[in-house]
């Protein structure tokens, strides 16, 4: 389903939660879709099952997934809270990139053009 970077300094449990959130936010994992079981994911990724369990618990706490007793974990429909969290994250990223862009002499209209380009692409995907 996805790959982890075991060389990265980022704790594996954080990589897991980030990756799954990304898949949910981008709609690659659809609402009510079942996530792989702890055991399956553990053997696919060669990751400690306790770490996966912990990541799932954290995702559930944050409202990204829900679990059904004896059935497994499922993707929760995206609420305003999850979108809000992601928005704050993206805003921070954008601000950092904008600072770099300003330094490199990008103009406002160039940045506007990039926004429109992304919008076009998104529309293209949907069509």
């Amino acid at each position: 389903m996805f790959e982890l970077d075991i060389r990265s300094r980022k704790p594996i449990y954080e990589q897991l939660t980030d990756k799954i959130k990304e898949l949910i936010v981008h709609g690659i994992l659809q609402p009510d879709e079942q996530l792989p079981s702890v055991r399956t994911l553990s053997s696919q990724l060669t990751v400690n099952p306790n770490t996966i369990q912990k990541a799932y618990r954290e995702l559930e706490r944050e409202g990204y997934i829900y679990s059904l007793q004896g059935k497994g974990s499922f993707v929760a429909p995206l609420g305003p809270e999850q979108k809000g969290g992601k928005r704050a994250e993206v805003r921070g990223e954008l601000l950092r990139l904008m600072a770099e862009a300003v330094y490199l002499g990008f103009t406002e209209s160039e940045i506007g053009a990039l926004y429109r380009q992304a919008l076009e692409q998104k529309r293209g995907e949907k069509a």
């Binding site: 704790p11 055991r39 053997s43 060669t46 990751v47 400690n48 099952p49 912990k54």
Partner: protein, 300 residues
């Protein structure tokens, strides 16, 4: 669940293990790290019921271990150097373990043949170091233990086998709630394998935490400040374990919450600010340095 309470063990008046307490929950994978001669092996052997603790208690599932065959039926201890009987093959060793461990599973032994692909009729003494290690894992897992204690088990295994064995251990943990205790100096492997770690030095426990918590709690900060004076203000405010200056870039190892640390640095609007999680190796080195054990810059 493993409970070690105030355990001490000495050899010829020298304390190898000095009042150690720790708890390992069922289904956890616990990594025991430490300097050379810290007492890791002595602690593991006490836990396995090979040594009698001089002080304190060792219990597994609430039962004492030493000289308790009932409890020891569920424990496997894998020593740092695999031992097999002279002239023995995997098949004859399997016969021996079957006669000792009541939970031995022939089915499991057969299943694992697919994972290890070793010739069960060949003499074990003719196997390479890594193959002997694989043979110990094969035998250990076939005993269906509840607690698996391993002293330096990763030595000599090739990367494919490491992955294979890791996967097998993870499956046992997920399926049967196997509890694993492992000592190693290979911190990269421990980092991928364990969920809890303990760091020992001179028979005592320096740190004992959940690995993710430990990593989330210590940060490496690389910063280029606008003003020298900001540095003093910052170090006064934060819990700094270690600092270095390389030209205009300062390196700090800081304990505490990531957001709070970042905020503290941001206030001074530094030219460059990078916050990185520490690797287990870095945590080990800084914690050891704190305990007065570090590499000396000696040129010979």
């Amino acid at each position: 669940m493993i409970e070690i309470r105030g355990v001490s063990k000495s050899f010829q008046g020298e304390k190898a293990v000095d009042g150690i307490s720790l708890t390992v929950k069922q289904g956890a994978i616990y990594g025991l790290l430490g300097s050379n001669g810290a007492g890791k092996t002595s602690l593991l052997k006490t836990l396995a019921g090979i040594y009698r603790p001089e002080e304190g208690t060792v219990t597994i599932g609430g039962q004492p271990v030493f000289e308790q065959p009932e409890v020891k039926n569920g424990i496997i201890f894998m020593p740092d150097i695999p031992y097999f009987f002279p002239q023995a093959s995997l098949r004859t060793m399997a016969d021996f373990y079957r006669s000792i461990y009541p939970k031995w599973s022939d089915r499991r032994f057969k299943e694992l043949e697919a994972a290890f692909k070793l010739d069960t009729r060949r003499k074990l003494s003719r196997f390479s170091k890594g193959m002997q290690r694989q043979a110990s894992f094969w035998l250990a897992l076939s005993c269906m233990p509840e607690v698996l204690i391993m002293d330096e088990p990763i030595d000599g295994l090739d990367p494919v086998m490491r992955r294979q064995i890791k996967n097998l251990l993870f499956q046992e943990v997920a399926d049967r709630g196997l509890t694993v205790m492992i000592s190693s100096h290979n911190l990269r492997e421990i980092e991928d394998l364990c969920d809890h770690i303990g760091i020992m030095h001179h028979g005592r426990m320096l740190v004992e935490r959940e690995l993710d918590e430990l990593k989330a709690d210590t940060h490496k900060v690389q910063v280029a400040l606008r003003d020298e004076r900001h540095a003093t203000a910052l170090t006064a405010k934060l819990q700094v374990l270690h600092q270095e200056t390389r030209g205009s870039v300062r390196l700090y190892i800081v304990k505490g919450d990531r957001a709070r640390i970042e905020q503290a640095f941001r206030v001074y609007d530094p030219y460059v600010l990078d916050l990185l999680p520490l690797t287990l190796e870095e945590i080990f080195i800084y914690e050891m340095g704190d305990a007065g054990y570090d590499a000396q810059p000696i040129l010979l």
